[in-house]
Structures are given as C-alpha cells and as structure tokens.
C-alpha cells in the first residue's frame, strides 16, 4: 500500500563491522567528550555559601520595616491585604498603649501580621499599596519546609531586626 505522506523512511539494518563490534573507538570518543568537560568553566555556584548577584528589583521574602528610631512602621491599615491578589496576608490590629511610643510609629499597629508564603506569588503589590513604606520584598528566597503551618510567617520572621541608623550611614 502506498503511504499517505511519503515521509516513510526505511531504516537500513546492516550487521556491524569489526571496529564497531569491539566498541573501543566509541568508548574512547565518549570518554574524550567527558574529559573535555573537566576543564571547562563550571557554570554552577555553591548556593548557600556563594550567592550570584541579584537583580535590583528582585522580589524575595517580605520584611516589615522600622523607621529611623527603630519603631515599626506598619499601622495595620490593611491595604496590603486588600491589594494582595493571592490573599496571603492577614493581620490583627491593636491600639498603642502609653509607654509603647518607641515601639510603634502610629497609634495603631499590627499585633498579628501573617503572610502565607505558599499563597504568596511575590507580585509586590503589597509593597506598592503600602502608604507607610512598611513592607518591602527585599529578602532572600523563601526556604523550603515540610509542614504547611511553617509557611505562615508571623511578625517574628517578618519584622526586620533593630539597627543603628548612625552606623548604617557610615
């Protein structure tokens, strides 16, 4: 029967000759390719110890910022949670008590602030929505973990550590 497409190829199957039957030249050729790779420059880096330069607008893990006096900037206005397309952010707000003025910038603050890193798509809309410049996606990659509950990052992981602005300027 005539083939429909005319693309049919009849593969010729001939018995191997002597050189092909001893396999040695083929092995030598294969090894030479392997050995050539030993002397090539390795494109990979040893990741946790060595980190490649990142793009300036790379978006990694969120961090809740402090102001120049070390007070938390976040006022729990909820605009990040509102703008979040993945609905990864939840928060509970509380009123600042007397004597906590050096902890929180405004009279309202977030007592609980949680980001579900499994839901988060790192789009950066929370950063854009924030009226207080309190959240930035400037951290490293979010690391892998075993349990779902461990991906819900609270304030303990998100709030940046206190820093001394005078030393930072130097």
């Amino acid at each position: 029967m005539e083939s429909l497409s005319n693309r049919k190829k009849v593969i010729e199957q001939r018995p191997m000759n002597f050189w092909e039957r001893i396999y040695l030249p083929a092995i030598a050729r294969g090894l030479s390719i392997t050995i050539k790779h030993f002397f090539k420059k390795i494109p990979t880096v040893k990741y946790p110890e060595q980190i490649r330069p990142y793009s300036k607008n790379f978006r990694g893990q969120h961090s809740l910022k402090r102001d120049e006096l070390g007070r938390e900037r976040c006022t729990a206005c909820g605009l990040c949670a509102l703008s979040c397309p993945a609905e990864a952010i939840t928060m509970t707000s509380a009123e600042r008590k007397k004597g906590e003025e050096e902890l929180y910038r405004e009279e309202k603050y977030a007592s609980v602030y949680e980001i579900n890193m499994l839901r988060c798509i790192f789009c950066g809309l929370c950063e854009e929505a924030c009226p207080k410049e309190a959240i930035y996606l400037d951290g490293p990659h979010v690391t892998a973990d075993y349990l779902r509950k461990d991906f819900i990052y609270g304030k303990d992981k998100l709030v940046e550590p206190k820093f001394d602005i005078t030393k930072l300027a130097q």
């Binding site: 006022t75 729990a76 206005c77 909820g78 605009l79 949670a81 509102l82 609905e87 939840t90 707000s93 509380a94 009123e95 405004e106 009279e107 309202k108 579900n116 009226p131 207080k132 779902r148 509950k149 819900i152």
Partner: protein, 338 residues
C-alpha cells in the same frame, strides 16, 4: 375645589425633572440620580436645618427661572437653593463648578490629618470619596495642620477632632433626636472645635447616631475601634424588635462575629432610620438579630472586595476527605480571611 398640584420643571445638566415647589436643587438632582447628583458633606436630608456649610454641593444656575431668565451671579449651594420653574442648572457640565469643587476639597483637606491608614472610617468615608472623585492628586498646603489635644467623650464614641470638617451634622443629631444636647461647637472660625460641655459623657438613647452621620472619621464607634478594616467585614441587613427604635440595622460581620452595628445607609450615604444606642452598642450577637440578607454593595465599592458568596475549596480537595482533614487548619484560616 382641590387645587391642582403645582410642579416646577427644572433641568439639571440638561436632564429635565418635575419637582414640587420648595424642593432644593440637590434634592431635585437626587430624584434624577446618577453622576449629576452634587456631593454633599454637611447636608443630611433627615436632619432639619443641615446644609450650607461645606460648599461641596456648589452648582451653577445658568437660567434663574422662566420669568427671570438671568443666570445667578455666583455659584450657589444646591442644598440651600430652592428650585424655580424653568430653572436650568449646570453641575458636572460646567467647568466652573468642577474647578470650584476642586478648590473646596482642597480647603476641606487643609486641616485634615490624612491619617486614613489609621482611621476606622476609611473605606466608607465621604471625604475620601470626595477627594478621590473631585480633588487634586497632590496637596499644596505645606504649613502645620491644626491639631487638638485628644478628648475622651465617653466609652462608646471616639472623637478625633483633628479629622473634623465642622459639618455640624452631629450637633443637629443631638438637637433633634435626643432631648438634651451635651456637645456643640466651641470657639470660632479656625479655632472651632466639637466638644462636650465640660467634657460630659454623651448619655442619651440616640446619641450613637452621630457616628453614622459623621461624614469623616471624627466620630467613630469606640467598640469597633481598630477591630478591623471596613472592607474586610461583610454587611448583612438584620432587624429586631426594639422598644425605642425601628430596629432595622446593618450588621458588619467578620467570620461569625458581629463587629459593628450601624444604621442602614442609602445610596447617598444617609441612614434610612436612626437606631438607638442599645441596638448599636449592646447587641453584638447573631442571636440578638433576625438576619435578612447581605446588604447590597456597589459593584466597585471597596467594601465588596475579597468577599465570596460561599467557601469554595478546589475540586481536588472537595472530593478527598483525607486532604480535607489534613488541611483543616488551613481551611480555618481561609474562612477567617473572608
């Protein structure tokens, strides 16, 4: 012989409407509805004598009446100007009105602290809407804003004098709904402030309505203070048999909890019926109320965002009981988010 009902024909932005004599231009525009309704910060249809203070409802009268077709020399406050037969009014079609309104918004915002991220009114604030729709993007005012020492006016109502735009609505509420008024405006001009007489607590049955009538966040519910943002709560209409008021309210739900009780508001942000303080502050259990239906929310309102009619897990999980139990905590969180 009964007199024939007289109707005045006015046209607002070219749309004709027949209204009874004595109707204000603002109310005539509200009968038409839509975009041509001038915004109003101080006028409140349920409060007698309100209006004429904020000047956001300025309109241009391009033809006074049929008998005297001369235009009015200046822009007029539509909440205080009554219609005449054959009057022609320009609102959004007049560039004068648009620029005047822009100036009024800027004026109102001069002393407003713009602390919307903290304010509990954000999301249902009339001044926010006004600034967004009619205002400039950038404020030009660069001097120190007027500030007041915070005053405690009771455990139910929170006063933030800094945010006040002096619309006098709350004063009218106290005058007209309650038998004794304890608060009012002190001082004059730029120094005016709302305060209670020797900081007396406002303790009457209907004083909670000052929260609903306040167009900004100057008077807010202290029992709802910082509990949640307005747009994360879900409004549901409900009623109960109340001996003092109509008992028709809107409950603001977060999950299963009633966070706040307010009066039902119409499309112009005015409550239909004033509710008493017992309904507002003391009945915060679902069991106290007979639920009716979710409050209809405007399509593009921030209050309608992130609300879904029902909890809807992915199909894979819906089928699999094992996955459901494994992710129980996760579901509880998702529920909480709504």
């Amino acid at each position: 012989m009964a007199e024939e009902e007289v109707k005045f024909r006015v046209s607002i932005d070219g749309i004709p409407v027949d209204v009874a004599p004595g109707t204000t231009i603002l109310n005539a525009a509200r009968q038409i509805g839509g975009d041509i309704v001038p915004p109003a910060m101080c006028y409140y249809s349920k409060l007698e004598g309100s209006g004429g203070k904020c000047r956001t409802c300025l309109v241009k009268v391009s033809k006074g009446s049929e008998k005297d077709p001369r235009p009015m020399p200046k822009l007029v406050a539509s909440c205080r100007t009554t219609v005449m037969d054959g009057m022609e009014v320009e609102n959004i079609t007049s560039p004068d009105v648009v620029s005047a309104r822009k100036a009024v918004v800027e004026m109102l915002l001069i002393n407003h602290p713009l602390d919307c991220p903290i304010c509990d009114q954000a999301g249902e604030c009339k001044l926010q809407d006004l600034g967004y729709e009619h205002g400039e993007e950038q404020a030009r005012y660069e001097f120190a804003r007027r500030t007041f020492e915070p005053i405690d006016i009771g455990d139910k109502i929170q006063l933030h004098m800094n945010r006040c735009i002096l619309c006098y609505r709350c004063v009218y509420v106290a005058n007209q709904l309650t038998n004794q008024r304890e608060h009012g405006i002190l001082y004059r001009g730029d120094h005016s402030e709302i305060s209670t007489y020797i900081e007396n607590a406002l303790e009457t049955d209907f004083i909670g309505n000052v929260i609903d009538v306040c167009p900004v966040g100057a008077l807010t519910d202290k029992t709802f203070r910082f509990k949640n943002r307005v747009w994360f709560t879900k409004p549901v209409d409900a009623h109960r048999d109340c001996p003092t008021c109509s008992g028709k309210v809107t409950l603001w739900y977060k999950g299963a909890d009633v966070l706040r009780v307010t009066g039902r508001k119409d499309e112009f942000g005015e409550v239909d019926e004033f509710i008493c303080d017992t309904c507002r502050f003391d009945r915060k259990q679902t069991s106290d109320w007979k639920l009716e239906e979710p409050t209809p929310v405007e399509k593009y309102s921030v209050i309608g965002s992130n609300h879904y009619p029902e909890f809807n897990p992915p199909a894979v999980i819906k089928e699999d009981k094992k996955l459901q139990t494994a992710n129980k905590e996760q579901f509880a969180r998702t529920e909480k988010l709504k």
